[in-house]
Point group: D2
Chain length 326, copies 4
């Protein structure tokens, strides 16, 4: 098995993915997408920034949109379990020669800013402002009725090395795709919070953010969003789906925001809290890997991604290719 064994006692305790900052070129247009269409709730906004949360979240935000000259991804955020984990994390990254800094962030407590080995900007925190429960304020539900942020998927030029790095900080692999010929890992799904993934890595020019996923209750929420987007001027923003992934068993839809950031609407994966959960291996050439029902993904899905602010791109030397729609 080419994926490393899980580290049951990691150097610091990451609880879950938490939030992403998108630097966007037209804040009003992005608001129309994330708020009016997807159905996220605004928790703060001014002329330069909008903070958003999903319906069952009590933390202040899962997505922030920052008006910028050029579109990219400002940072990926993760919540740590307890205050001491922050210093342990700082020590860990520092010992590996990675940049470490404690910064001020709105609506958040003490925040550690760093980068991974490939330059992806990361931030870790323990406390974020807690907001009133709105889970049962059903009059607020609209669009896809998103319930919570679910995961990040990242293009990596060295997936094997990325899996090693993230395994080292406690992420556990639930499923992975192997390139039969080279025996290398072509993609991997890794979790902290007990679902199929908090982060996934896919072979390609990286680091780039492939997508951020929002969890919804069931496939009819996905269909409602498709009907809404198709009849409110967003039909061209529908990229792939609906379908069921072989990997993760999740029901999915991929849409693109006005800066072409990719958002997955996602439901129906499975619980993974057991540390002895055996990772599921998929062959890159298995067409049901990407879509259980057989339909291949379009080329854009395999090739396009969002730049991370301040990270340099590298091509992958693993040239194996998945099945792409003609």
């Amino acid at each position: 098995m080419p994926v490393p064994a899980p580290v049951l006692y990691p150097p610091f305790n990451i609880l879950r993915l938490s939030h992403v900052e998108y630097r966007v070129t037209d804040l009003a247009r992005s608001r129309a997408f994330y708020v009016d269409t997807l159905g996220l709730q605004v928790t703060y906004e001014d002329a330069g920034v909008i903070y958003l949360r999903a319906m069952e979240e009590r933390g202040h935000h899962c997505i922030s949109l920052v008006q910028s000259q050029r579109a990219n991804v400002g940072v990926l955020g993760f919540k740590l379990f307890d205050a001491p984990d922050l210093d342990k994390a700082a020590a860990y990254f520092s010992a590996r020669g990675l940049p470490v800094e404690f910064i001020e962030r709105p609506f958040m407590g003490r925040t550690l800013r760093t980068r991974d080995l490939w330059g992806i900007p990361l931030e870790f925190y323990v406390k974020m402002d807690r907001l009133p429960v709105i889970t049962q304020q059903y009059a607020l539900y609209k669009g896809a009725k998103p319930l919570r942020i679910d995961h990040f998927n990242i293009f990596a030029a060295e997936v094997d090395a990325a899996v090693d790095f993230y395994t080292g900080i406690g992420f556990r692999t639930t499923e992975y795709t192997e390139d039969e010929e080279t025996g290398r890992v072509w993609a991997a799904w890794m979790h902290r919070k007990g679902g199929v993934h908090d982060v996934a890595f896919t072979n390609g020019t990286g680091p780039r953010l492939h997508h951020t996923a929002l969890w919804v209750a069931n496939p009819l929420n996905v269909i409602d969003l498709l009907d809404l987007m198709a009849t409110t001027g967003w039909v061209d923003a529908i990229e792939r789906g609906p379908g069921r992934h072989g990997i993760s068993n999740a029901f999915f839809l991929y849409v693109r925001d006005p800066d072409l950031n990719r958002i997955e609407i996602y439901c129906s994966d499975y619980q993974t809290v057991d540390p002895d959960l055996e990772p599921i291996r998929w062959d890159l050439k298995d067409p049901q890997r990407q879509t259980l029902w057989g339909a291949p993904a379009p080329r854009s899905w395999f090739e396009e991604g969002s730049l991370f602010d301040g990270a340099e791109l590298a091509d992958s030397d693993l040239k194996a290719r998945p099945i792409i729609a003609p």
Copy 2:
């Protein structure tokens, strides 16, 4: 408006589409598809034939499968309102020089066999054996949980003429696709029973049966069928979908039986009983016509169809083409 006005007092009263006979080359394999996978109920079977009904139907069959040397469509069946309608229908077809014959059919009363102007074999009847109600025998529900036959879709070399002919016998057009350049009708949806269609006609080499549709309760039945087919050896039989049609607003999936007959799993169209319902016009070049969500249909969907027993093929001279998936 290029479609003719409805004939409110037709020469005889067609109630609804009723059944289709598929002549199949491997009866056991077809049984695996229609019974074990789609979930239709067997109402009679012997070595050479299987009769099937859907869950809310009380008539004996909506599909019959007949073991044959070569696959084709034996006949399309329609139920008439009352006994006198049979003789009125015979007189009507006879007056137009079409072949007319009263035949014996198992499980059916007096049955009129004829052909339309293009040779499609048609049969009309008033009485078919009625079976016990099984709508609430939920232990029998499986596969897509099909509730009733919904419509036929037919490739026609002369769609305008087909619309005229079927309007003449009482079918009312609910939606149609126009070729902007020639002003001709490229496709039309026509009903008797109060849904979007009992029959539709699509431009192409004809007459051929494009598909037969089965009505299901909601989109999750479609998703259940996809999951089942994808994991029981039928993944290659999934041709198109799931999606929502612009035309008819229905949620759809297209699958192919072992002889490549196409079956649509269909739900969510609308009620059309008003005789003053204005037909909805679509432009052939509108990508949302075929799929509201934008994804084009594959080439096979536009080109492949089932032969009718004893009908000669003709090419269409209307060369306008829809958008086809690359």
Copy 3:
């Protein structure tokens, strides 16, 4: 069988139920219920009246709300097939000594106003203003996402006689409840448009309107409405459900408007266009008759109804009682 055979060639052709006029005591509060909560679309409103339609309807209205001193039901409306049916209807009612009058109604063509034998105010028309199609304007969908009006249910002091009368004008019985002891019909479901019913009659002090039903796509729309009502101040307006009826097999919810008019949110019944469809008989004492899953309806559901304007009440002499929740 205690229900009369259907009249296949009725004296005039009723197409379907069409609309109901509710005279309400607080128009703004009724608007909050029907528009903001149930999700009907306003097609006209002024200080004294609001006209509403459901999402797939093209006729101008299915419900009108008229500000009044006292709440009651102004009229039940039915659409006829063709212009001559209006005069045939007038002649029919007139011959039976019932009041007949052609009146002016906003948004409607020539309109016949009459009453049935028990004084229920009825109106018949052929033409109503047709509005643009909004079925695919998904941004407008909200609340229960009602698609169309489905049926009226009426308390009748003489159900047997009501079934006879409505059979005489073409309604066909699909299901009925018999009182085992007396052999009398306790309730009956009768249709014109091809569903389980356009009108139903239930034994009780009558005539009163038991409820008007709105058709929705699937049970999740019902659940969405429950969540919304439960968290926006309407929890006390939820009377019964969700559940599945034994009769009709429909999934249902009953809610009460601010004047206590009862609205059913309804889906999943079956197609009944066959004139030889055998009525299904239920025993009044069968607990699965009212709810397939066994839960009895509350007392209010059996006893409370809306008065018809100008109709006198009579008690039923059929004292058989259904199972009522304790």
Copy 4:
């Protein structure tokens, strides 16, 4: 706030609830309920015992049925994170004077058997036989299509004390019901695995098992089960629902097995992995607490429960009563 703060570093690491052993009086009848009706998968069976798992589980069993003279609950099982946790758990219970024993259990590794302060039989383990993944073997899905065991709910004579005890071993309270008058906790929901609960405690004669819950994908699975039970002889086994709980926001149905053990079919609660998740407080007199939509639970639901093998019953001295259906 009357519930204690969570213990972030508990004496041993409980991962999640795992399984329950029901001692049943008619194994064949219980099989008809759990396998043929609910849809659980048999992983082992012989004349005296049946082991079951749900569709996404890879551990050998979540429910075992043991043929017995008298019906009761043999044990509640919990999975620990890692091997050392077993000895830490043994030491913890031992230090509190509770019975501690390592026993042999089929299909399980080293197993610690103990009891809580009120005599509830508990077992803890780290390793259970792992079985092949069947999540995507959709041909096996039937009944309610149960995905995994979700939680236990327990009648406790001293809820405050139970909350203290289970908080001490790491369970974190997500929601609770307070008796306004006494300020005491009337019910509490406590988790380890990141959902609303692994265990809940409800005021009443205890200890008794109120119910075991199975997780399903969405409300339509619940409706499918209701339709199936209602038409296959299990209608009297339907006790309460469907509905949405105010507490937990979950969609629910309660059914009773042939020995009257209560099973909840459950979906749609929310993610609770944040250790700083504030517990939600409910007032015992709030009718939306038990059912968001307002319908009260029946008396049986509040009063009937399953005995634990070898545990002695005690009455609660907290006499506050919830709203009960008349």
